[in-house]
């Protein structure tokens, strides 16, 4: 049973998905601040429209391989906030029993791992497995501008294109690889990299979930039709730090990108009453998730010597 039934093709549900992600990440960061959580996490705040738009046009059985910044993808996929919160809090009820934490989760056909680039050939192999079995499922792999520095990405693009695999590369360009801006880490163009392998590209510079949904719909349709891999490039903005406390950006820059807040952009399409209703629903869900998770036990294991 998916937590979010993927009938998100209306403005209300798209907004709700984005707000769910926003409030989840905010709560998470506050739990770190108060010392309830240790370690680190990578918040998706600012990029919510990407996940909400993409997962509004995928099928429930499609495969997803996500990265270090996976919470938004997981929630938009339909994952349960409580199980994710429990995983982040290192509880036995977490998605993978507390073994993986923030970057290493698995539920149904959703997988994530914390190695830049390394996930891409794995997702490519998944797409191959689905293709040879003619299941009709496509695979989505989420990468970022930072991933463009990893060589194995290009090995995978080559193979995916040669073998016409049903895989969609979703590249979220949030302009920074941790703290390094794209201007000093990416030569040439991003789209040119995919074009070089004959992979069709849908590219949008927007935080409007409807524009993203429309582009994602075309890309997903192309991949599902058997045309081979596709690439969806979404230029976006990350409002929070890369992980925690590692944001060297200026206040001016942070204020400037805040004007692209996807919740503001899309929220204008809802009535104030509707926005309020979503807020009240989401608050209950998030609170329930974190309170329940916190009461759950920590994992133990026996060790034989």
């Amino acid at each position: 049973m998916r937590y979010n039934v993927p009938v998100m093709d209306d403005n209300y549900n798209l907004y709700k998905t984005m707000l769910l992600i926003r409030r989840f990440e905010e709560r998470l960061l506050s739990e770190f601040s108060t010392g309830k959580l240790v370690g680190t996490t990578h918040a998706y705040i600012g990029q919510e429209a990407d996940a909400a738009g993409v997962f509004s046009v995928t099928e429930p059985e499609d495969l997803v391989f996500s990265n270090h910044r996976c919470h938004g993808h997981f929630l938009a996929y339909g994952g349960e906030p409580y199980r994710l919160a429990a995983e982040l809090m290192g509880r036995i009820t977490g998605l993978v029993g507390g073994r993986g934490g923030s970057q290493h989760i698995h539920w149904r056909n959703f997988y994530s791992n914390g190695i830049q680039g390394g996930i891409v050939p794995v997702a490519t192999g998944m797409a191959l497995a689905e293709k040879v079995r003619a299941t009709g499922k496509i695979t989505l792999v989420f990468i970022g501008d930072g991933t463009l520095g990893e060589g194995v990405l290009y090995e995978s693009l080559n193979i995916a294109a040669l073998w016409k695999l049903p895989i969609l590369f979703v590249l979220e360009d949030n302009h920074y690889a941790q703290t390094t801006p794209v201007e000093i880490s990416v030569s040439g163009t991003i789209s040119g990299r995919f074009a070089a392998f004959g992979i069709p590209v849908w590219e949008r510079e927007t935080t409007d979930v409807l524009e993203i949904k429309s582009a994602a719909n075309e890309a997903v349709h192309s991949v599902r039709s058997g045309a081979g891999p596709g690439c969806l490039i979404l230029h976006t903005h990350r409002f929070s730090a890369h992980s925690r406390g590692d944001d060297p950006r200026s206040h001016e820059e942070l204020a400037r990108i805040r004007q692209f807040d996807p919740l503001t952009v899309h929220g204008e399409r809802l009535t104030p009453e509707a926005c309020k209703k979503v807020e009240s629903e989401v608050v209950v869900v998030i609170n329930d998730a974190f309170v329940r998770a916190e009461a759950d036990p920590f994992p133990q294991m026996s060790v034989d010597f």
Partner: protein, 330 residues
């Protein structure tokens, strides 16, 4: 008599015939070439849709295999030279071997990574190494090596049947070697005992009271046997040989049993000496026994020279084993 190459080739044919989930990926594996060492010969002709020749992309080969395995297939990847396994380290260490545990036992990654290792063919510093020691002790990853005593086909079949990732190390010089038969030829003086596991260890008991135990795997079993014969003929010293098929995780019971009576351990490997397989065997044996004497025979801590004269100095020889054995029991 069967040779190692044919048995490996047979195992691949048999696996593909009997299980349509089995796929083979690698570089230059299509007929008529059939792979750099011909282990995949004939497969692409018989199973064209399940034998996937790839670009020169070792990391992606193993990564793609990982993804296929996560989704229920049983891929076998060939890495043309073992030296290139450095390129697949991330896929083995951070992906294949971690997924099952990290995802709380909800998935399996049944991949086999086959790769030839070893020198003595004049291929120089980057095509002659035995790098398997770099993958020993990686949690979740089994490392296995065939030899001329156990049936390599059976060993490879066990690797393919395994639900977890297996790295299958084939020493190049083993390919043309004929399989041994207990009680005949080289083994006429030995009584062979085998553990019942999927990747068994063998104990070769001498007819006399053994004064030392030689631990080895893969091709170095050939050298160990020759050294044991020299020690017997020239010095009237009986040895017991423990031959491992599984290098990691370490399962050393047969070795401990032998050391209880000999108390002298001689490890033989073709990888470099420092921090190697023999070092771990030594440490574990020492933890078990109060009195243990040890010598390790391995490659010098150097790249492998191209000239045969250099290779001969750098890689362990039968004479090195004999010398180490004499020093051990003196």
């Amino acid at each position: 008599m069967a040779i190692v190459l044919d048995r490996l080739n047979y195992a691949l044919h048999h696996a593909m015939e009997t299980d349509e989930r089995v796929y083979i990926l690698g570089e230059d594996i299509l007929d008529p070439y059939g792979g750099a060492f011909k282990v995949t010969r004939g497969l692409s002709t018989k199973f064209p849709e399940r034998v996937l020749t790839t670009p020169i992309s070792e990391a992606a080969i193993v990564g793609v295999a990982n993804g296929m395995a996560l989704r229920g297939l049983r891929p076998i990847a060939e890495i043309m030279f073992g030296d290139f396994t450095t390129l697949v380290a991330d896929q083995l260490v951070n992906h294949a071997s971690k997924f099952r545990w990290m995802y709380n036992d909800q998935v399996r990654v049944p991949i086999v990574i086959r790769s030839p290792m070893g020198g003595r063919r004049g291929y120089g510093p980057t095509h002659s190494q035995s790098l398997e020691k770099m993958f020993l002790g990686v949690p979740g990853l089994k490392v296995v090596a065939p030899n001329t005593l156990g049936d390599p086909a059976k060993l490879l079949a066990s690797a393919i049947a395994d639900d977890d990732p297996v790295m299958f190390i084939e020493h190049k010089l083993l390919y043309p070697r004929t399989l041994l038969e207990p009680g005949k030829g080289d083994l006429i003086d030995f009584q062979v005992e085998e553990t019942g596991s999927a990747f068994p260890a063998f104990t070769l008991h001498s007819p006399g009271s053994a004064r030392l135990t030689i631990a080895c795997y893969g091709y170095n079993f050939e050298l160990a046997r020759a050294a044991a014969l020299d020690l017997l003929i020239d010095y009237e010293i009986f040895t017991e040989i423990i031959l491992f098929s599984q290098l990691s995780p370490f399962e050393l019971e047969p070795l401990f049993s032998s050391l209880v009576s000999t108390g002298n351990l001689l490890t033989v490997e073709e990888g470099t000496l420092s921090l190697g397989w023999g070092a771990e065997l030594t440490a574990r044996s020492a933890e078990k026994m109060d009195k243990l004497r040890v010598r390790r025979v391995a490659a010098l801590d150097l790249p492998i020279g191209n000239a045969k004269s250099l290779e001969d100095i750098i890689l362990p020889s039968v004479q090195d084993i004999v010398t180490a054995a004499l020093s051990l029991i003196s």
